[in-house]
Symmetry: C2
Subunit: 395 residues, 2 copies
């Protein structure tokens, strides 16, 4: 007999009926078990595997058959009985029978149909349960994988945060404030600011091509290079970092030498408080920083090629006189992808307007641009605001 | 009437029966619609929302009722009819009816039970479908999130691969071969090898504390520092890189200055072919590299503190004469977590045995240690094999 065939239990106190149906089912290739009492049937149900039960029982008997399985699954039951009363049929079905075959059983084609219909349902239901289980397990696995990767990226983020300056920092008499919002966890936007001496401070803003881990690697190099140049400057062995164009050239050199296939758009500025002057160079940074004083905002002039692409770039040094009320706001281009506005011109104008109206710092700028509860950040976004400490509202 | 109540359609050609049942259901608070013909009922089924149908129909009529919904869901049907024939009841249920109520309807408590039972099933089934949909959507979302993070890490991996030397490389007359297996995507194990001049080559092996993105950041610094030291050495401005202890000291200095909170265990060796000598320093690297010649393998002597933890470490320089048949194999400690063996001693002995028996390169070493199809890599694993080019089998 086929070991894969379904197991059918036939319960009938009438021996002749029992044997006739059992013989028929055997001949059809099913694995057949027989019982003449409910107790007998329950023993078989408890000790063997049964897929379907045929039973000559009354609706009151049904509750005494142990059809329940561990996983709250019920073995389907077909009542095979003689009744003149349509109410009995309804009662049996309400008591849990899947179908009803009227005795005497003559129409065996009908028996086949009943079996096929029920077993098809059983198979479907088992298949569904299997799919459901697979889906649940897949979900758990994915979940764990995601958690692992997230934990990894978060650890990376901690390192990256260590490389960024404090979110708000006074350097000489200049107040710096920034925010970095990575698209994923790790950011390719980077910035730093520190003093060179008692009246000069450097700030730079870099947007590494791409975003995420691969771009974040380059920010490590940038931070390290700047740290070394600063050290060299302080001990008098090199003044590259005090000239914005030389600084960009040096970054260019190191990026090419590292051969990581990444380039950076940068803006580097040196604020000279004694001479009330900003000197800066542009390494392909876009949009240009916004210079604002007395409620008037305009983009700083200037241009220059991206850093880390060409072997011998030239960067111009631009000069701009500053007043004590100045504020410079630098954005990475990620801002343009999420702010309102149809055209690039619209967006650039909006940036100017928002900066001109806003004197209260980066948090307010964020709100004004509708960035407070962004659901998705397609590209890293960073802001840097630079102003004279005398600027009132925020301290 | 309660807008949230279920909608029940009653179909009955006998006006009196229709009204009596409809009135009863209205009084129970259901939203009731009535129809006296099947066409009439189908119009209502097509144009309005129906949760349950009571119909006085024959089993042959059932197929003409439009109970099917867009999502292959069938509106449940209760046949309410008069029949002396139990076969009719069975036929109706086989044709798709969920229940059968015999006319004349006197037992309204039974009607309530039938409605409750069916609507409970409908609610359960809808709830299940909802849960299923949520699970499927959650799965899709997770899947997308995971894919995004994986793509990000893979991009990082590409960068990291660019920093590693070729997997097999001849430097002067020394043959270097390595493999790095990250635990996730990004590795905190790093190594490099290159020539200093025509008879000296440097190789180093570093295992950054932790693993993944945060540790990978430090490998960027290591690579960059080494590149600069090599450049300085070649132009004669510094020879730190030609002295393994000075090299480790310099890494120590840069790591502390970077303030990333990461330290590294390192091994740095300089092979001097002219003097047939290996000079090396140990920065907390474990297990020690295995030196092998003529089938005898032993761990190199030496010790030293981890790099990047203490401000002024001292690293000793060890000397070892080498013969033309030498092979040095360096492992990161991740290997100890996946190789067979009960105790650390067992594992260290096994490493020696495997290296002693194995002359055919890193791939064979992997197989011998049973690492070919690791399912999970708890910590990054790296191998480096260094041997004289004259060593036969692999070229």
């Amino acid at each position: 007999m086929d070991q894969l065939a379904e197991h059918i239990l036939v319960l009938d106190p009438h021996k002749e009926d029992l044997l006739r149906l059992a013989d028929y089912l055997c001949a059809k290739g099913y694995q057949v078990k027989t019982a003449s009492t409910i107790d007998n049937a329950n023993e078989l149900l408890a000790s063997t595997s049964v897929d379907l039960v045929f039973a000559d029982v009354t609706n009151a008997d049904i509750a005494h058959l142990s059809l329940g399985q561990a996983d709250s699954y019920l073995i389907p039951l077909v009542v095979v009985s003689e009744t003149p009363n349509s109410g009995d049929v309804v009662a049996c079905l309400r008591a849990g029978a899947s179908d009803y075959i009227l005795k005497p059983v003559n129409d065996y084609i009908n028996v086949d149909h009943v079996i096929d219909r029920i077993l098809e349902k059983v198979r479907l239901s088992k298949h569904n349960k299997h799919l459901q289980k697979e889906l649940e397990e897949g979900y758990k696995k994915l979940s764990a994988g995601l958690q692992e990767l997230r934990a990894d990226q978060k650890a990376g983020l901690q390192i990256q945060k260590k490389m960024l300056p404090k979110n708000e920092k006074k350097v000489n008499d200049i107040f710096f404030e920034h925010r970095v919002m990575p698209s994923l966890y790790l950011s390719g936007d980077f910035l730093d600011y520190f003093n060179l001496d008692d009246h000069r401070s450097l700030f730079y803003f870099a947007d590494v091509s791409g975003h995420g881990a691969s771009s974040a690697f380059v920010t490590v190099l940038l931070k390290n290079l700047t740290m070394r140049l600063k050290r060299n400057f302080k001990r008098g062995s090199s003044d590259e970092i005090s000239c914005p164009n030389d600084f960009l050239k040096r970054v260019n050199l190191e990026l090419l030498a590292s051969d990581l296939g990444k380039h950076v758009t940068m803006f580097a500025g040196i604020l000279d408080e004694k001479n009330q002057e900003l000197r800066y160079s542009v390494g392909g940074h876009f949009p240009m920083p916004v210079y604002c004083e007395q409620g008037r905002a305009e983009y700083l002039e200037g241009k220059g090629m991206a850093v880390g692409l060409f072997p011998e770039p030239e960067f111009e040094v631009y000069h701009r006189k500053i007043t004590p009320e100045f504020r410079i706001t630098v954005f990475s281009d990620g801002i343009l992808e999420v702010m309102p506005g149809e055209t690039l011109n619209d967006k650039e104008q909006l940036l100017l307007d928002v900066v001109a109206e806003n004197r209260a710092g980066v948090a307010e700028l964020f709100s004004s641009l509708g960035l407070d509860d962004l659901k998705e950040i397609p590209d890293d976004i960073a802001f840097l605001s630079v102003s004279a400490v005398s600027d009132g509202s925020k301290r």
